[in-house]
């Protein structure tokens, strides 16, 4: 699936559409860090998007709020993206690991990124979860962010290996490490969006 137009890559995708300048963006791969991991499961994409927008409005005022919501009106929702609103800047959220992909327009992504450190809590399901966002990677497309995420998850699994308490956990972690691949086409391994390779 070409991320910039909801057309399968195998079909002829008009070059004009692919290189249209208003469609480029920057994808920020962020990790939500909370002191208690159980609170991570309460997160959903709307809560994260709302807190990002609120932080940008708080730090950069009306100008920032306007930049955050400027989108190409023809952007179609893609089937595999778990977001309901296609205009949302949260493109992917994994509640088990706290990984979130944010999309910003290319001309102003640094300004909007500078508002992210000021997020101190996220309001989700009526509760206020104290947390902060740590940006891991900036990519031009979702695919580059996916590749980075696979390498990052593999590293995290390697770090978890010494902490395993028994042999069975070790075997599970080793199996997950070997499963982490991004193959073209059917995307086995890191089964996007539902990750079952971490923790």
């Amino acid at each position: 699936m070409c991320p910039s137009c909801a057309v399968c890559l195998n079909c002829a995708c008009p070059k004009l559409f692919l290189t249209a300048p208003f469609l480029v963006g920057r994808y920020l791969l962020c990790e939500v860090i909370v002191p208690d991991r159980r609170h991570l499961l309460l997160l959903d994409d709307r809560a994260v998007a709302a807190s990002v927008r609120e932080a940008v409005a708080r730090v950069h005022g009306d100008y920032g709020a306007a930049l955050c919501s400027s989108r190409f009106s023809g952007y179609r929702s893609i089937n595999w993206a778990p977001t309901v609103l296609s205009l949302s800047s949260v493109k992917y959220l994994n509640a088990h690991t706290g990984i979130v992909f944010l999309r910003f327009p290319k001309r102003c992504y640094k300004l909007l990124w500078s508002a992210l450190p000021f997020i101190t809590s996220i309001e989700a399901r009526g509760q206020s979860i104290a947390c902060f966002l740590n940006c891991l990677h900036v990519g031009g497309t979702i695919r580059t962010c996916q590749k980075f995420l696979i390498r990052y998850n593999t590293q995290q699994l390697h770090r978890m290996l010494p902490k395993c308490k028994n042999e069975e956990e070790k075997q599970q972690v080793k199996k997950s490490i070997l499963k982490c691949t991004l193959t073209k086409g059917n995307r086995k391994g890191l089964d996007f969006p539902s990750d079952d390779d971490e923790d």
Partner: protein, 258 residues
């Protein structure tokens, strides 16, 4: 891979909080942190003994194989020139020395004369003095860096304005060189990752390269500068086991620092 450092983690007596603070810093990718003991001479007569908390926490920073390095730092908040006594014996236990001057005269003295590594720029109040080019250039020539801490900005909205205002006026005088950005974090939720801090540096008026240096290279030069304070004429390093030995090239005073 750059080496990222956060040279200002506030000391609290709660050991478990300190431990989780250092673990969070390691998780975010900082390879070196410094625990900051703030000393205000007006508050107490005697210097409290620094509990160099025996940090045997072997947390591994992201992407590194060596455990995180924890240094000790002392910040003296000066409102009078008698508060900072150079070469005092109590300062030897600390790896890094910092001062926070509150008047223009003290700022000038700290930049040109005092043997410190870091000059803190206050972020909780409007600066009572302006930065002049002459002392700032003198400090840059000596290898002293200026520090802006950002966690006050995260906590509070009025402090955010003071932080940005003071930081911007500092950048105008020093042109973005010899600046470090650090959190003055008391809780693990107040630290931010190194790439986020680099981006915050853009808000303060640093260029892209300067902002990244503020978290990596300049911090490393501060730590080396601090080591040279303990060296005798820059080449002899006394080890605690009382044997004198000449230092390897990495530990000698660098020409651009002196």
């Amino acid at each position: 891979m750059s080496v990222f450092m956060d040279l200002n983690l506030n000391y609290t007596t709660d050991k478990s909080r300190m431990r989780s603070l250092i673990e969070t810093a390691a998780h975010l990718g900082f390879s070196t942190v410094a625990i900051n003991h703030v000393f205000e001479p007006t508050a107490k007569k005697k210097q409290r003994t620094c509990c160099l908390c025996g940090n045997t926490c072997l947390c591994l920073p992201q992407g590194r194989s060596r455990p995180i390095r924890v240094l000790n730092r002392l910040t003296v908040v000066m409102s009078d020139s008698s508060h900072f006594r150079p070469n005092a014996a109590e300062y030897r236990g600390f790896d890094l020395l910092a001062v926070q001057p509150t008047t223009e005269k003290l700022f000038h003295a700290a930049c040109m004369l005092y043997e410190v590594d870091i000059i803190c720029v206050s972020v909780t109040e409007k600066l009572p003095f302006f930065f002049k080019r002459a002392p700032v250039n003198g400090a840059v020539g000596r290898g002293v860096v200026f520090e802006v801490s950002y966690s006050a900005a995260i906590r509070d909205s009025t402090r955010r304005r003071y932080t940005i205002a003071n930081a911007v006026s500092l950048m105008e005088s020093c042109r973005g060189k010899n600046v470090i950005l650090s959190s003055a974090a008391e809780k693990p939720l107040e630290i931010r990752g190194p790439y986020d801090i680099t981006n915050l540096g853009l808000l303060f008026g640093l260029s892209d390269a300067d902002a990244k240096d503020a978290v990596s290279t300049t911090c490393r030069s501060v730590v080396l500068h601090a080591e040279t304070r303990k060296l005798a004429s820059g080449i002899i390093y006394t080890m605690k086991s009382c044997t004198e030995s000449s230092t390897p090239a990495a530990k000698r005073a660098k020409p651009h620092l002196t």
